[in-house]
Subunit: 347 residues, 2 copies
Amino acid sequence: MHEIETPAVVVDADRLDANVARVARTVAERGLALRPHVKTHKIREVAALQLAAGAVGITVATIGEAEAFAAPDTFIAYPLWLTPAKAARLRALPGRVAFGVDSAAGAAQAGSALGADAGRFEVLVEVDSGHHRSGAQPSDVAEVATAARDAGLRVTGAFTFPGHAYGPGSAGPAASGERDALVEAGERLRAAGFDVARLSGGSTPSLAATEAHGATEVRPGVYVFGDAQQWELGHCAPEDIALTVLATVVSAHGDRLILDAGSKMLGADRATWATGHGRLLDHPEARLTAISEHHVTVTGADLRLGDIVRVVPNHVCNVVNLVDEVVVVRGGEPVGRWAVAARGMNG
Amino acid sequence: MHEIETPAVVVDADRLDANVARVARTVAERGLALRPHVKTHKIREVAALQLAAGAVGITVATIGEAEAFAAPDTFIAYPLWLTPAKAARLRALPGRVAFGVDSAAGAAQAGSALGADAGRFEVLVEVDSGHHRSGAQPSDVAEVATAARDAGLRVTGAFTFPGHAYGPGSAGPAASGERDALVEAGERLRAAGFDVARLSGGSTPSLAATEAHGATEVRPGVYVFGDAQQWELGHCAPEDIALTVLATVVSAHGDRLILDAGSKMLGADRATWATGHGRLLDHPEARLTAISEHHVTVTGADLRLGDIVRVVPNHVCNVVNLVDEVVVVRGGEPVGRWAVAARGMNG
């Protein structure tokens, strides 16, 4: 690894392969379709691994990500507000495309912007399962779906994101909320005369909670790499973590070490319950106590100036988005680089 | 502005011009050299404005940033740990180049990696003025400088970063600490027989504190754009803020609005004292209460689905690093785009 100049994002392809296979098997055993969220990695080669392992398609957050992957079956799991320019980009996407709506006004806007092409697209109504971000209340799903149908769109189901699963002890309750919301959404859609082909849920934490039924498909993202949040929440083991930021100790004064990777490599995410600004994979006792753009402060690690360490970022999705490419290692040795094809595709 | 698709980073060039001119004038009036930190903007056109307004050179954080700007006079304000590969890149930089050291070991490593070329480079010893990040104690400056001289490097002064100025009421005390550290560093270097041509300090908050003397040059960065942190700390007025993220209201349920710009556009920085995850420039009463990658939750604003708003990010330096280009407006109308030439240049 020491021929890699720091800082660098490094993907352990052996661990990645194992993570992809394990979740594909688990999801298949539960009879669910797997539609992984590729916003975590933004890398075509990783999406190809997921599809080869049985994923039915991909999930993205933006039209730009859909363009970068150009997959045969894409779900934009976001309540798009379609301008004429965005509608034109949506029309130009290949394959089967679905997107989210969470309001009658958003559905009407989409129908108007897409015009005669509206019927080419599937829409899933987003429901709020307790995260209180976007999403209609489950009781309002039929109203939104009816507005979408009236706007010429093809309603095929509902989706939710149980983001409140990201906290200590909250994966189980969040998964229950997810199940209840999807079950109610399905019932209300059927009662209003809709065929319900897709009920889409899932996050990496709620996936592990056995209560998470009610869905026909799941959209975990982070499982491919893992990160310090998942590690500290107990949703992955350190030996499963497949992405780290390689960094050098550039300054050492007393017990305080400085690494040459700050928030411009590690991201600035820090949940209130996190132990710090990330973890050191090979020094779990160390704490990352402060961060700035090109510095992270480490305490509690027996390291010297010039030492190279593997930093596990708190939230991996924001890390991959900071670099143009990642270094791929197998058996601990660099074997190539992958481009982050969808980096910065926010619109 | 409504022909700009959201989300987008927008620079108000009129405000930028005014900020560049105002700080150039203030610094000149105090008899200091201005060497702005270009990590804030990473844009060649903005550096050109700063140099045209009288900046003596630029400050960067990494060799990659120095390469992207290729300026005639560059200070890499960072304690570099020079590998052979990094030393080769340093040798290839144009013009006058200085970099930081904060340990005898780092100085020896630099001298060894640069070999016969070591004398071409100036080094400034980094001192800790109370931020407790990198930097030697002022009492150890002569020891580090002597090691650098022994390694063949040309020691021309010292620098510090008063990063602890970023808190409510802390700019004044931080500026005092900055002054004391630079004065002591200068005295100790002179006592050890060094010519002290450069004592470099300054951040945007400590710049405003009149106690911040002791330096020969200052390195503010954020002043070109301002951000919500500077606004909330009282170091800039909202009418001076020159960079915003244009975003659309895509979801609205009750008092909760969702904008199509999350941490992948706004960054995830949030100081403990911040009111939220940024501010709305035209709705100062609103609060940004939650953020995820492509969503930010707004409460307390009278807005409707489809409305477009200007979001002031908490920490602008991390925002520019997330996009390949910014939209430039004058008189409220788009007039062009600037490339973020040094985006992602972390090494």
